[in-house]
């Protein structure tokens, strides 16, 4: 490992509750809870955090967090542009850049969501991008928009509902072992998946991610500083964020993506950059946390990041390849956005760190490399490769 490799030294999360739970904390309160937990995990004083990053139009501004936590000096703050979970790994990428450049020493990447307070996603919003071109036809919400991409994937490659069900069931099954998962104690089989009500055909209810109150935080520091901390540090071997030529916000409204890659998440260029920076290839990956806004979209992301061949994610999922413990590459070992919580995918980074520390509730034996991907659909999207602690 190179001496300038940025390290994740602390992970934290709040309790996860359903979005309409009346008893939940404010978004700012949830953010502080997660950040304090991450600082405690790292073994640093929370007031020594000197950088804050986020994504997805997070409303919890760094100066408010600074005031709430008594941060002594804020040396950097940045938010990755993107309207959704595309920036989950990108916020970690920004934190890694900040510690590599020396701009800050302990940077926390965080995300907090409480839709009961801040407004529910997917509602009519005349100010939304592309609104004039899609709202008059009844398209507002992410499942409706992304169903159009997945329908195309089904047409081109023969992907089926049962194959998408295999992805959802893998996530749900993994969540049964995770005490923090919202869907714990609610196992699911194919019959109950297929019986769930249609939301936006081909997406049923259980193809769709949860809506959750909750927050996650991860603390990034330099390799040198990590050596002096008591906790278990996980190296960030590669981190990227970006948007491919012609993709932009396409899947969320313009639909002007190149036709040859329409039934994908447009991350082929990003994937090449991700593996190239680390000198690795997809076949090296042992376990993956794939941002799952919707089953079929996460499956297209698995193809873009090379876990299976183009168009082959359906048979791959149905074969059991993504199921812990015996699958060749277990995916979403925490339960994902579908069955753990919708922490906008920063929970996938937290789970990636657990896998590399050997502390997941679905631990992959001898896992040495973990792929984590950001939200597919919104641009920019992002990804990480984490190495064993």
């Amino acid at each position: 490992m190179k001496a300038d490799t940025p390290m994740i030294v602390g992970i934290g999360q709040s309790e996860y509750t359903k979005w309409n739970d009346p008893a939940h904390d404010s978004e700012l309160g949830l953010a502080c809870t997660a950040i304090m937990a991450a600082a405690a995990d790292a073994g640093i004083d929370v007031t020594h955090i000197d950088g804050i990053t986020s994504f997805g139009e997070d409303a919890n501004e760094p100066p408010l967090i600074q005031a709430a936590l008594g941060i002594e000096e804020l040396r950097m703050s940045a938010m990755l542009w993107s309207g959704g979970g595309g920036g989950s790994c990108g916020a970690v990428d920004l934190a890694a850049m900040a510690v590599k450049s020396g701009q800050a020493h302990y940077v926390v990447a965080m995300r907090s969501l409480a839709q009961g307070h801040a407004g529910r996603f997917g509602q009519y919003d005349p100010n939304w991008r592309h609104a004039s071109f899609i709202h008059p036809f009844g398209l507002f919400a992410a499942p409706q928009l992304l169903a159009l991409a997945v329908r195309r994937h089904m047409h081109e490659y023969g992907t089926t509902a049962e194959q998408m069900g295999a992805f959802a069931i893998a996530c749900r099954t993994h969540a049964q072992r995770n005490p923090a998962a919202i869907m714990r104690s609610r196992p699911m089989d194919m019959a109950s998946y297929l019986a769930s009500r249609m939301i936006a055909d081909p997406f049923r209810l259980f193809d769709c991610c949860l809506e959750t109150n909750g927050a996650c935080a991860v603390i990034v520091t330099s390799w040198e500083r990590a050596r002096d901390l008591p906790g278990v540090a996980v190296p960030i071997l590669s981190s990227v964020h970006g948007s491919s030529d012609g993709w932009s916000s396409g899947p969320l409204g313009s639909f002007n993506m190149p036709l040859e890659s329409f039934a994908s998440v447009g991350a082929a260029q990003l994937s090449e950059a991700l593996y190239g920076k680390a000198g690795l290839s997809p076949s090296d990956i042992d376990v993956a946390q794939i941002y799952d806004n919707f089953t079929g979209v996460a499956m297209m992301a698995m193809e873009d990041f090379g876990l299976c061949e183009r168009g082959g994610s359906g048979p791959f999922c149905a074969s059991g390849a993504i199921a812990w413990p015996n699958g060749e590459i277990p995916v979403n070992t925490h339960g994902g956005n579908l069955s753990e919580a919708y922490a906008h995918g920063l929970n996938h980074v937290v789970e990636g760190v657990r896998q590399m520390r050997g502390t997941s509730t679905c631990q992959v034996e001898n896992a040495a490399l973990c792929l984590v991907t950001g939200g597919p659909g919104p641009a920019p999207t992002s990804a990480l490769i984490l190495g064993r602690a």
């Binding site: 009844g138 398209l139 507002f140 159009l148 329908r151 936006a200 639909f255 002007n256 329409f262």
Partner: protein, 100 residues
């Protein structure tokens, strides 16, 4: 503002579209999340493509078509629908010789 992503030109002109619209993809929406849609749910939304006009795409709805009959590649005819006197939208129906 540039309208061409290849040459950054801001010069635009009307071009008559080819008469070949077809369904590129579609979804059937079963959960209305706006009160104005409650009475028409389930309803469809589709990406309509004009292959001979540089594959220009529009989001629209397919009218006069049962949900089970919707299919990618279905050939369409344009219908201008007046939602209100000051609000006219392009919708599509299966063309008479539609292949399904």
């Amino acid at each position: 503002m540039p309208v061409c992503a290849r040459c950054q030109s801001d010069s635009i002109a009307w071009v008559e579209a080819s008469d070949d619209p077809e369904i590129y993809s579609y979804t059937i929406i079963h959960q209305a999340n706006h009160e104005a849609l409650a009475d028409v749910t389930p309803y469809n939304a589709a990406i309509v493509i004009f292959p001979a006009t540089q594959s220009v795409r529009l989001v629209s709805n397919i009218i006069d078509c049962a949900p089970d009959d919707l299919a990618i590649g279905m050939q369409l005819s344009l219908v201008w629908e007046e939602v209100r006197p000051d609000f006219i939208v392009p919708r599509f129906r299966p063309s008479r010789d539609a292949r399904t």
